[in-house]
């Protein structure tokens, strides 16, 4: 059975000339401002009493009228039915579709109305409820098998009675209907008919609409909850990531200690690690060591080396020349621009080898040029007397002129100390005094650049000897994933917990017995620790060959590899999906 969803009443104009356009009732509606229109769509205002239509989705339309009854029938002359109501005789054509309309007065009356409508071309029947003083009767179908084909609807009295009155206003010709004067003034033909036209829309009613609706609501609520919590967790995770990034930048978190996988040294940092000419620890006493261009990348190495040698050869007889651009202990912020500048200067240098000789002063120890390339210092004592004119002494005696950007006198800055290391720990070749170029890492360990550079670039950021990070403090070399955040939080909580436990143990006078809760906490802590260690080991293992094969070698972006290593720690696909929806959920 299909239920009505919507009742629409409007006034249409049927031209008097139209005699045969019957079927579709495709007539213009009357100017709405001069007539009336009514839309009933609130489910509480109507009911579907009967309908044979099972599909639904139909609309029943027709001109609204009150079926004729036997003139002697008391139902017909009822107070509720106005005298001048639209009857069948008031309709312009016989073959128009109709919608019958009548008050629900009694069983007898509704029967009479329905039988009468049966003889007319009725699309539907609408009963409306009447005030209780007339009748309490609400069900015209009561008692009997319903013999009619048209659907029957019930309209609430509060809407039904005014509509009945309206119906009485549209029964005569144009000049006599409601607002008739204005209508004819507005150009409507006086001979045309203005009648109320009813359209009833229906839809199929599901036997269990409530259940489906309920399910739908439940699903919607669930989805909402999921969405909201997902959003919340993403927000939280975002916050955690940001705070971790901040803490890393502040140097509070040691990334390597997190075991998040491979962290490498980007080329631009690598290029900033100074290159020196190797000076043995005690070999450099007689002749102050010379220093080499630092901003030289490995490929450029041979040239700079040559340059250094040339320099030296030419320099010996030369006079003192002032060269620009000294900066002292430059923080590692050099850009590639500076690098290229540096190279240019090397060339420049080769063309006109002019260097400055100054005596080595002990306080120069900490001074290393990173920009200037005029770094040769006397190798033979004989050059010393000739060097350092008076004009230069002020600048040399004030090595603390930090990063003077203005061109100043150049100080040649020899490498302050010799090295304990006598050979490269990687290839085991001995360094040759004053000949081998060595790369000095921030931890002051030295290597052949060709040995250490590829390793730092592709394998690790740690010095192979002391395992100290070569990256500047606070540099965040990897993409911080939620997994890293989680690991960091776990590590921190474990650390905090063990501190707590230690404190509590101390307070307990080392009595580890304690209560049940205490023992449980201890166990839990140990388990967490083990879990963490295990996972770290896994990650460490992943840094070996397996990871390399999986990650597709070293050509991959370091970030990508990091990401993989951490996320890859044997997790099923559904967990990853869960993680994407609920980041940080464990």
């Amino acid at each position: 059975m299909s239920a009505a969803t919507n009742f629409n009443f409007s006034v249409i104009v049927i031209p008097s000339a139209a005699r045969s356009v019957a079927a579709n009732l495709d007539f213009p509606t009357l100017n709405q401002s001069l007539s009336f229109a009514l839309e009933v769509s609130s489910p509480s205002d109507f009911q579907t009493l009967y309908s044979q239509d099972s599909k639904g989705g139909n609309t029943f339309k027709g001109l609204l009228y009150v079926p004729d009854l036997d003139p002697t029938d008391p139902c017909d002359n009822h107070d509720l039915v106005p005298r001048n109501i639209t009857r069948k005789a008031n309709l312009p054509m016989d073959d128009l579709k109709l919608v019958a309309y009548a008050p629900l007065i009694s069983q007898h009356c509704s029967r009479q109305y329905m039988y009468s409508a049966e003889n007319d071309n009725v699309a539907a029947f609408i009963f409306y409820g009447v005030p209780p003083i007339y009748s309490n009767y609400t069900d015209p179908l009561q008692g009997e098998e319903y013999p009619f084909e048209y659907p029957v609807y019930y309209l609430d009295g509060a809407i039904g009675q005014p509509l009945m009155n309206k119906l009485s206003e549209y029964s005569a010709n144009m000049s006599e209907v409601y607002n008739g004067f204005n209508l004819t003034e507005a150009g409507y033909d006086i001979r045309d008919y203005a009648r109320i036209y009813a359209v009833i829309s229906t839809r199929n009613t599901n036997p269990m609409p409530g259940l489906w609706l309920f399910l739908l609501v439940v699903v919607a609520v669930l989805l909402f909850i999921i969405g909201a919590s997902s959003l919340l967790m993403h927000l939280f995770q975002f916050h955690y990531r940001r705070s971790l990034r901040r803490r890393i930048a502040n140097g509070e978190v040691d990334l390597e200690g997190l075991g998040v996988g491979r962290i490498t040294v980007p080329r631009e940092f690598l290029a900033k690690f100074p290159l020196y000419v190797y000076i043995a620890e005690n070999g450099g006493q007689a002749t102050p060591p010379r220093q080499k261009a630092q901003d030289t990348t490995t490929p450029a190495l041979p040239t700079s080396k040559e340059g250094g040698k040339k320099k030296e050869r030419v320099r010996v007889p030369s006079a003192v020349v002032v060269k620009e651009g000294v900066s002292i202990i430059i923080p590692a912020t050099a850009t590639s621009e500076r690098k290229s500048k540096g190279k240019e200067r090397v060339k420049d240098k080769q063309r006109s080898p002019t260097t400055v000789d100054t005596p080595t002063s002990p306080e120069m120890a900490e001074v290393s040029t990173s920009k200037g390339l005029t770094l040769s210092s006397p190798t033979a004592p004989s050059t010393k007397p000739r060097s350092s004119p008076k004009t230069q002494s002020p600048s040399t005696s004030t090595p603390q002129l930090t990063g003077s950007q203005t061109p100043t006198t150049t100080t040649s800055l020899p490498h302050p100390r010799g090295y304990h290391q006598t050979s490269c720990p990687i290839c085991l070749d001995d360094f040759i005094h004053q000949e081998t170029t060595v790369r000095e890492l921030p931890c002051l360990h030295i290597f052949h650049p060709e040995c250490i550079d590829p390793y730092l670039e592709s394998q690790s950021s740690l010095c192979v000897l002391c395992k100290q990070s070569c990256l500047p403090k606070g540099y965040v070399p990897i993409r911080l994933t939620n997994a890293i955040v989680r690991r960091e939080r776990l590590l921190r909580s474990v650390r905090e917990r063990s501190r707590e436990v230690a404190a509590a143990t101390a307070a307990n006078n080392g009595d580890a017995e304690g209560g049940i809760l205490w023992r449980w906490r201890l166990r839990r802590l140990r388990r967490q620790e083990q879990d963490l260690m295990g996972r770290q080991a896994l990650v460490r293992a992943g840094r070996g060959y397996g990871e390399r094969a999986r990650g597709g070698g070293f050509g991959l972006e370091p970030q990508y590899r990091e990401h993989r290593v951490v996320e890859d720690v044997v997790r099923p696909r559904w967990r990853e999906t869960m993680d994407r929806i609920f980041p940080g959920f464990r």
Binding site: P425, L428, L465, K467, R540, G544
Partner: protein, 152 residues
């Protein structure tokens, strides 16, 4: 290739200064990454008189990555796994402790040292470690038995 250069160098060094009780060398000339090792059981240990063969595998990243050491001769020792791998647990062979400056010969010397004095803290065979700790006599007895049985 850096690794090959370094390994050949170590090999040459070892051949020039052989260490008593240790013989070592690559399996073949074209594969320097696999070494056959022969250790004689150090005097004063329950392994004395035995001849233990080991496999040394060097990773392609050597010396950045540590080598692995496996006993092919069965040995009753807390730090050697009692399975067909016979992997030896040496502290310096763990990747966090490994330094590229460590040489193969040093690793082997450490291994010999471990034969003399097992490291209970780092044991892979905890039951043997417990025995070594609690009843050293029975440990020595079994170790000697095994040496006689497998390493002669």
């Amino acid at each position: 290739m850096a690794a090959i250069k370094r390994i050949s160098r170590e090999l040459a060094e070892f051949n020039n200064n052989p260490v008593a009780g240790i013989s070592a060398g690559p399996v073949s000339d074209d594969n320097l990454f696999k070494w056959n090792i022969c250790l004689t059981g150090p005097q004063g240990s329950p392994y004395a008189g035995g001849l233990f063969t080991l496999d040394l595998t060097l990773p392609t990243e050597y010396p950045f990555k540590p080598p692995t050491l496996n006993f092919t001769t069965k040995i009753y020792h807390p730090n050697v796994s009692n399975d067909d791998k016979g992997s030896m647990c040496l502290a310096i062979l763990r990747s966090d402790n490994w330094k590229p400056s460590s040489k193969i010969i040093q690793v082997l010397e450490m291994a010999v040292g471990l034969l003399i004095e097992p490291n209970v803290e780092d044991a892979v065979e905890t039951s043997i470690a417990d025995e070594y700790k609690n009843s050293p006599d029975s440990f020595k007895k079994t170790a000697r038995e095994w040496t006689n049985k497998y390493a002669k």
